[in-house]
Chain length 294, copies 2
Amino acid sequence: MMQARPPAVERLAVIGCGLMGGSFALALRQAGSVGGIVGHSRSPASACRALELGVIDEVAPDAADAAAGADLILLSVPVGSTGAVLAAMRESMRPDALCMDVGSTKADVVAAAASALGPRIDRFVGAHPIAGKERAGVEHADAALYQGCRVILTPTPQTDPARVARADALWRGLGARVSTLGPAEHDAALAAVSHLPHLLAFAAFRAVAAQDDAQTLLSLAGPGFRDFTRIAAGDPALWRDVLIANRTQVLDQARRFRAELQSMEAAMVAGDADAIEALIAPAAAGRSRWRLGG
Amino acid sequence: MMQARPPAVERLAVIGCGLMGGSFALALRQAGSVGGIVGHSRSPASACRALELGVIDEVAPDAADAAAGADLILLSVPVGSTGAVLAAMRESMRPDALCMDVGSTKADVVAAAASALGPRIDRFVGAHPIAGKERAGVEHADAALYQGCRVILTPTPQTDPARVARADALWRGLGARVSTLGPAEHDAALAAVSHLPHLLAFAAFRAVAAQDDAQTLLSLAGPGFRDFTRIAAGDPALWRDVLIANRTQVLDQARRFRAELQSMEAAMVAGDADAIEALIAPAAAGRSRWRLGG
């Protein structure tokens, strides 16, 4: 399938110059679809690093200043900061601006946006690119991060349909596969396949690291442990916000997980090899069939 | 550091022609260190596939026949089959043969070997290469699988020291980093960094797959889920045996994990963002610092 070039952007404002925002800027620039890129980060060092790396063209002193003059605003901050950042930008936003986020939860983000933007909520399109790398930070930004990646848009009845179409064309132009979900449906699904796995990986790494011989244990860990715990290296502020914002759904998923774990532990306690195999076999077959983007 | 060529092997017998055994055969052949390779698998189709792929030179009808004439025997079968396979080979083994396994548990394997081989237990060196790939089977065998991989040898006072030295030189010659542990110490450590992660990945995949909208959920899963659940694609018979053989240690590790999970869930229930971040941050920092083979 031919990948259409992303629609032209005069001026992109990236709020939060990390892996996600930086990769978006690089990809849009590589596509030749952006005039200029301004960035702002809560930590000035991050924005300066993005400038040094050529990811952005200018550093703005605050979010309001970054938003002024931008026809596309990409918010890449911990989800709990969405409301405050949008409120700060409300007055300086261009009337024709499209504002998107990249947060991992959507019900809280969409509600915070509605509250912060008031009647201007039509300008905001919730977006979640399901992408990631082991290393965060703008140093690891990658123009190819969104190639083949799934992006979920979560428009509401208040969202301007023309802006949804523009958001869709932008992400597709960067090689993403775009789909649309309601904010609540998004959060329920992502609790199962992303948020709970992060919670489990954090807990599993903690459990190893807390042991007296942790250094020996970690030196014996192999590629299975590496992959299983990769997501435990995620940004603490980002995941703090996700686990709090979506806690009802994540706790529900944790309950389902614990029931499965309990069944497996019970079979082990009983020394019942057949029962263990009967529990493992469908998971192994299912996971062997599963493909990313399949 | 120069990698010495592995010591010469006249005839290698591979019992269990899968990913691990097949990769060992390919690596030894690529090093130019083996005269001939005979293989046997419980499923004749696997051995035939290994023959077609040029991984082995001959298919033996049973383990005893495969062992006859081999100066190196590599056992790559589910750990619960170790005793039966070694007993079948006992009478046909060459007096100067070195027999190694590649199993993920060692206390049960060493005990089964002692019982099956009797006074010939001096010929057996327990070995565990901590390697793996998403796909099992001889089709995925890879001459480079053991390059940089850690291999743990678990000799006992009954093991012939000359054979331990030969095992050490063989694995080092294939590029592995070799260390030695007692069988019980091995099992305690691997419960933490390998067996429990497998148990958790199986349970996590089961929990998603059991939901009514599992297909939708799995279609929304991204690279984090892919890596977190990779090990859930492991061979069910192999992991059945590991989880049963090492269940005391794995259940102890599961208890430690559940305590960590419970702390995190309690902070979420309380909506305590600071507590969540305080729990995540050390895990994220620790996992960011950790390197495979570091």
